[in-house]
């Protein structure tokens, strides 16, 4: 009996967590390479393309050489370099806080991986918590402490400024981040991520009825992770490197690890909340949880693969945004957060609530109306964006002098 409980509540979740953890860490390591490479390609250069080419050319047949992207071993070379670099501790720093700085954001970033459903339950869910979403939000929002602590303990004005900016930014964007989820919660009626995903498989991806919420979530998640265009805490041109100016070697790597881990967490949330998680279904047709469960372990793995590919899609989106958008000024950032995102999120909540209530009153499905509206907005935007047109010259020269 005790053995059974031990297996069920301790060993089995631990094994699952380790597997998920390792997969996520591999993705984090790979993201470093993918980001540098894609960023390079988007900026009309090549990016890292050297490390490990000789190794791969030796082990693979000649005909495959063309298809191997260069520099794959950069994934391994970077961590090795981080490990071997000298660990510099500024003599004027506050030692305890300085050491705690990089460690603190790691804890919530790793803990959250226990709560994310990677595939159909129970096999592919580490811990099935019925307030999982709330817990994830609570954990991720503690990540800012490490950044503030690190920035303050370095005893460097750039670090301090970076830490302060990060704190202000995270606090402001936590609000629209949370508010954007409310609409989803009203539609699905649960904090349980598994149930939210099942609801989406049975109806439609929340992306359509909650299009505005999804957009706000995307923006807020960029801001939460200090990614461009909201990377003010580490703005190179103003603050050297922001809160991790004084950190080197493995401590710096810990900051990066935490950042990329929380990026993955946010992408997982985005996928679970708005993109239907591990399912590929609409209105109950397609690869729903039931169908995947019917195929046993293979179905579960298929679900996990679908989930991870959706997550990777959003990770690529981070890179795409970074390559495209210039950095905001700090007041613009605050303007966007408080004057646009929060009212928009509130309006979204109001509209969703009214439509759902009207649907209950007059017997129609509220989310269908919202979905049609969302799909119409997407279609109209795509039409405007992709319509064939003559080259428009926006600036007209009026006079020369």
């Amino acid at each position: 009996m005790t053995q059974d409980l031990l297996m069920r509540y301790l060993i089995w979740p631990l094994v699952k967590f380790l597997v998920a953890f390792i997969i996520v860490q591999v993705i984090v390591a790979a993201m470093n390479y993918i980001e540098r490479r894609l960023l390079g390609l988007m900026q009309a250069r090549l990016g890292p393309n050297r490390v490990g080419n000789e190794v791969f050319e030796k082990i693979t047949p000649r005909s495959l050489h063309r298809f191997i992207p260069g520099g794959l071993l950069q994934i391994i070379a970077d961590p090795i370099k981080f490990l071997l670099k000298e660990d510099i501790v500024p003599s004027s720093s506050e030692k305890v806080a300085y050491f705690l700085g990089p460690m603190l954001p790691l804890i919530p970033a790793f803990l959250v991986f226990c709560l994310i459903p990677y595939g159909p339950p129970p096999t592919f869910v580490v811990t099935h918590v019925n307030v999982g979403l709330l817990l994830i939000l609570a954990l991720t929002s503690t990540g800012v402490y490490g950044i503030i602590l690190g920035g303050w303990a370095s005893n460097n004005k750039y670090s301090l400024m970076g830490g302060l900016r990060s704190a202000a930014q995270m606090v402001s964007y936590e609000v629209p981040f949370g508010l954007s989820i409310v609409g989803v919660l009203m539609l699905c009626g649960s904090f349980d991520l598994v149930r939210i995903i099942n609801y989406q498989a049975d109806h439609i991806w929340n992306l359509f009825p909650q299009l505005i919420a999804a957009f706000i979530f995307l923006v807020a998640m960029n801001a939460e992770n200090n990614r461009t265009p909201f990377d003010l805490p580490e703005a190179e041109s103003e603050l050297v490197a922001g809160y991790h100016t004084e950190y080197s070697a493995m401590k710096f790597a810990f900051f990066m690890l935490a950042e990329y881990s929380s990026m993955i967490v946010n992408c997982c949330l985005m996928v679970s909340l708005f993109m239907g998680g591990w399912t590929l279904a609409i209105n109950g047709y397609g690869l729903t949880t039931g169908v995947l469960r019917g195929w046993g372990l293979a179905g579960g793995i298929l679900g996990a693969v679908i989930f991870i590919s959706k997550v990777m899609l959003f990770m690529l989106m981070y890179i795409w945004f970074r390559a495209t958008f210039p950095r905001f000024r700090f007041d613009q950032l605050m303007d966007l957060g408080w004057k646009w995102m929060i009212p928009l999120a509130l309006a979204n909540i109001a509209v969703t609530a009214v439509v759902v209530l009207l649907g209950l009153q007059f017997n129609f499905q509220g989310e269908v109306v919202l979905s049609i509206a969302g799909a119409a907005i997407i279609a109209f935007t795509l039409f405007l964006l992709l319509r064939p047109r003559a080259k428009v010259i926006h600036a007209r020269r009026v006079s020369e002098a």
Partner: protein, 175 residues
């Protein structure tokens, strides 16, 4: 200059069309072929008139020392001795090169020596398209006659001898 911008329509503003347009641009850029040349594996061939490493021809040289005279920084060292030699049954006085050294590390590749050379084809020329002259030792950049004529261990392009017809000048081009 006064520039008047077109006012964006409210639809463009609300649907963030400018940002999406930017995203479209970067996406297009992602798939464009890149112009970067991966240097050690790929090389650009220099233009025909490119001044690179020297090449010297012992057979053509008449040991007139005009190149050494023309050299503005005096890095061409020439030693000559006279020799009586029988050519076509007559005894003739002939200059024979003992030493023809160039201190390439101080050279500025002005090609005045090539210009000054009276032989036809030129016996010293720089249009060899070879530019990889870096070395670990200063001594390696001091070249004697043999080294100038037969390079060792340096990447070589076919190289244009200076007597080849010059590329046609485009009319109305540079004077």
């Amino acid at each position: 200059m006064h520039v008047e911008y077109q006012k964006p329509r409210w639809t463009d503003k609300f649907l963030l069309l400018d940002m999406l347009e930017g995203l479209k641009t970067t996406l297009r850029e992602l798939f464009k072929p890149k112009v970067t040349i991966r240097y050690p594996e790929e090389r650009l061939e220099p233009a025909n008139r490119f001044r690179g490493m020297f090449k010297f021809s012992f057979d053509r040289c008449i040991a007139c020392k005009l190149c050494a005279l023309a050299c503005p920084i005096d890095i061409i060292y020439i030693d000559v001795h006279d020799e009586q030699r029988e050519i076509d049954g007559k005894m003739k006085k002939l200059k024979v090169l003992d030493r023809y050294d160039i201190d390439v590390k101080r050279c500025m590749f002005c090609a005045l020596c090539e210009e000054a050379c009276p032989t036809k084809p030129k016996s010293i020329w720089l249009t060899t398209k070879t530019y990889e002259l870096a070395s670990y030792d200063r001594k390696d950049l001091y070249f004697n006659m043999q080294q100038l004529e037969y390079w060792e261990g340096r990447p070589e392009y076919a190289g244009l001898p200076a007597d080849e017809p010059e590329p046609k000048q485009i009319e109305g081009g540079m004077p």
